[in-house]
């Protein structure tokens, strides 16, 4: 890459895309998915225990624990979404991938 712009940004589309080496891309995919899963699962466990599986009255809810649960879920989702900006070389968004022309309509 001799491009003066070292990050392959795609700012006009709104979504930022950064090309990383394949091995790093694999690490990003594996570990961000893992973190996201742990975040969401732990978040729901915390929410459940804060509300005793959504059975306690509103006044009985353990608010800090519930907020911690929500935060963990948001963190998990955030990590997952954030990781999508890292791509390996030659990777487009699969949905926009039309390098193969359709020849039968």
């Amino acid at each position: 890459m001799t491009s003066p712009d070292p990050t392959d940004d795609n700012e006009q589309g709104g979504a930022r895309e950064i090309t990383v080496p394949l091995r790093l891309y694999k690490a990003v995919t594996v570990f961000s998915t893992l973190l996201a899963m742990i975040g969401v699962i732990v978040g729901f466990i915390l929410l459940d225990s804060a509300t005793n599986r959504a059975t306690v009255a509103l006044s009985e809810v353990n608010v800090p624990l519930a907020l911690a649960g929500l935060a963990a879920i948001v963190f998990g989702g955030g990590v997952y979404a954030f990781a999508t900006r890292f791509q390996a070389a030659g990777m487009g968004n699969a949905k926009d991938d039309d390098d193969e022309g359709s020849d039968n309509g």
Partner: protein, 264 residues
Amino acid sequence: MSLEKKDEHDHEAWMEEKDLTPVEKTFLVSLMWLDERLRIVDYLELLENLYYKSNLQMPKSHTEQYNLDNKFWYWYPLYSLGFFSTIAYVVAAVSGALLGFYFAPATAGETATAYEQVIYIMTDLNFGYMLRSIHRWSAQVMTAAVFLHMLRVYFTGAYKEPRELNWLIGIVLISLTMVFGYTGYLLPWNQLSFWAGQIGVEMALSIPLIGEWAAQLLFGGFTLGQPTLQRMYILHVFFLPFVVTALIAIHIGIVWMQGIAEPH
């Protein structure tokens, strides 16, 4: 250029030339930290490598050769419908065999015995409600799955040469599946069953030339009664199970010999 092998973990130099925000840099550094300590990716790569090696001797499939996977993979989940029908059939067979311990195909009594037995299964028998529900639902699911399986085979062109015979067997099987459903529908001998039976008799009678003979054969007469229920029962628990099981075995055996059809 250096002869020294590049260190795959040396991300420092690479990171410098990228214009990363602090958050992105922290994110990547954290994940790299994890990556160096927990070697999950290495083990996954090992598995990936094994997967490719285990397929090395396979010839290129039609799908690969013409690069159809680009779009064709949307269809792949529908390739499980035949197996799904088979599972539904097995579930219906097992639950039906258990129901057979408690059902009696008799119209005798002020309330027909058959209906009484169904009520007994539904209200008194332990797990009876569940058992009959499993039987009914698996029957519904099988009918739906078999129909969708036929659509899949049609729209992917899997019925074409040299698989015409299996397509014909499939047509017989979908018809027999519906006969299975119909005969089972009549067994509770309630109002729904009775009038469905009446429709069946009249449909049989409407056939030109052999109508009366067909009604006699299938329904045991022109009005519904004990012979009708008896015949429906024997069709449902004796005749059809043998015929359909044998045809399914042949159907699957032919798929096994000929292989799954490539998309056309």
